[in-house]
Symmetry: C2
Subunit: 315 residues, 2 copies
């Protein structure tokens, strides 16, 4: 049983590779929900959808999000209203948000709904939102000396992650809890993999849910991360820029240190072999391979290498 | 200044005719909102949209609702989820509901939003929801000896108005009020026309808003209705069937009696000339013309005849 803590595009590509390397029914994805957003009254779960569409082979390969062969009639009509169109929702993708929102209003949980969406797409790995409670990643930037709050999607999509971030917070009500499925899945896992996702934007909200970090820490010898940063640069998105802005070190070493209480090993790229010694001095094993998932075979190779390295490490 | 109390398709065709007969900026439409519905989390205002699309010349002429040249990609994808597809929402039409819902969540009123939608479609008559409060038409039917409640859209669309109705109710919170715009518009009106809409489904919810029926009764000599029933049959929809089920008389006479405290005149079809005497015995003038709006010129003729007859009647 393999559990993968997941954000969006990088995690989805990794999970797809993993599902071609092991029995996909052995895989459980613990998904970030911190970048979920309500727009137009619709509940949108970008990381869950990217994961499902990718595992279904339905993702738009050029963007890494949304459906391939998509049409945009609703967005075009919304532009005529001067409506909110910076968050692009394709016509077929919209059906996912309509379906999810309707069932939420009927009282179903995000976990139950996600499972229905997964099954419609014939996706075999289980996809588990880390929590059914509201959890929102918010970012603070300084504008004219004043702190200004941005929602995840405002930061990420509307402002294309250009603002300099002073701090990040994960907003939730008192009583935020992980779902029972997530807790049971993590406790039963033989290997827990932190996907090559943005540590502070995608993985941190998962770790912010009470109990999750504790399970990882307790099972540290089973937990491995994959650095999303190669040679000081993020493969995609603002991971390196953000980690630098937050003083965390924009490198595989920074990532290792960020996770050091939770992981016993980290997979880094060959290009970062010079960091191996420093990482190991911090008490983790550094495992070297090709981590750039430029295509499906590369994703399979990364998944296979990760597993082989972890299992060798465990034995 | 002409005010038209309006439901959906029949009212929209009548209003379109009227806007080609008089200066459209002299027309105010007071719209029913009793069949508004939240589906998929989206606030849908079918009567308002039918009115705006019709006045914009954008309505699908075959169905009388929705946009012409529409595509259905979202509904097709929603069908794959076994989502709710009995309420058909086209891809471009969806933009209207997304736009409306977003602005409602931002705190704008339905009146303000409707005005923005109207302006985007370059529609000149003002369209005023009778209230910004929630008001829901619900219908009761007897199933196995038990009363069962149906929402308007369940009755009208999902069950294609087949169930026999035992009673109708208009649900709202205490404190339901007409908007200031509606009250001011009605009080300033020189002529108030009750459109050829379903009396119990489309007009009654407007009259259920406190103050509206009183303004009409006070100005009874300015108020005229057009019968939506011709020779005992509704032109479209279940008006005759429903009026019979509710014991109101499925005829132009039944319509006249239903409105008798509010109107001084009713426009009936030539086919109902035999009812004229009975209507006039009830204290209203009955004005005879062609009321079937089979095309745009017929709508213009009905609007022109109605005005001429009312104005002659007023003088």
């Amino acid at each position: 049983m393999i559990s993968i803590l997941s954000g969006g595009v990088g995690a989805a590509r990794f999970a797809r590779g993993m599902s071609q390397v092991v029995d996909p029914e052995e895989i459980s994805i613990i998904s970030n929900v911190g970048d979920d957003e309500v727009i137009h009254g619709l509940h949108i779960s970008p990381d869950i959808d990217t994961m499902i569409y990718t595992l279904a082979g339905a993702i738009n390969p050029e963007t890494g999000w949304g459906l391939k062969g998509e049409t945009w009639h609703t967005m075009e009509a919304l532009a005529e209203y001067d409506g909110i169109t910076w968050f692009r929702l394709g016509d077929r993708d919209l059906a996912t948000h309509l379906f999810r929102t309707q069932l939420l209003t009927e009282g179903e949980s995000l976990t139950e709904i996600t499972d229905k969406i997964r099954k419609r797409w014939k996706v075999k790995p289980r996809i588990l939102p880390v929590t059914d409670d509201s959890l929102k990643t918010v970012l603070y930037t300084i504008v004219d000396g004043e702190e200004r709050k941005l929602s995840f999607q405002e930061y990420f999509v509307q402002y294309a992650h250009r603002p300099t971030i002073s701090r990040i917070d994960y907003e939730h009500l008192a009583g935020l809890t992980a779902t029972t499925s997530v807790i049971e899945t993590l406790e039963a896992a033989e290997v827990i993999i932190i996907a090559p996702s943005n540590p502070v934007l995608s993985i941190a909200p998962i770790l912010a849910v009470p109990g999750i970090a504790e399970i990882l820490a307790k099972n540290r010898d089973k937990v491995v991360a994959i650095s999303p940063i190669i040679a000081g640069e993020a493969v995609k998105g603002p991971a390196a820029k953000l980690m630098a802005e937050l003083g965390l070190g924009p490198s595989a070493l920074g990532v290792a240190n960020y996770y050091r209480k939770l992981i016993s090993a980290i997979v880094i790229d060959h290009k970062d072999s010079d960091l191996k010694e420093q990482i190991e001095l911090s008490g983790m094993r550094a495992l070297e391979t090709d981590t750039l998932m430029r295509n499906a075979p590369a994703s399979m190779n990364l998944a296979a290498s990760t597993l082989k390295l972890v299992i060798r490490d465990l034995n």
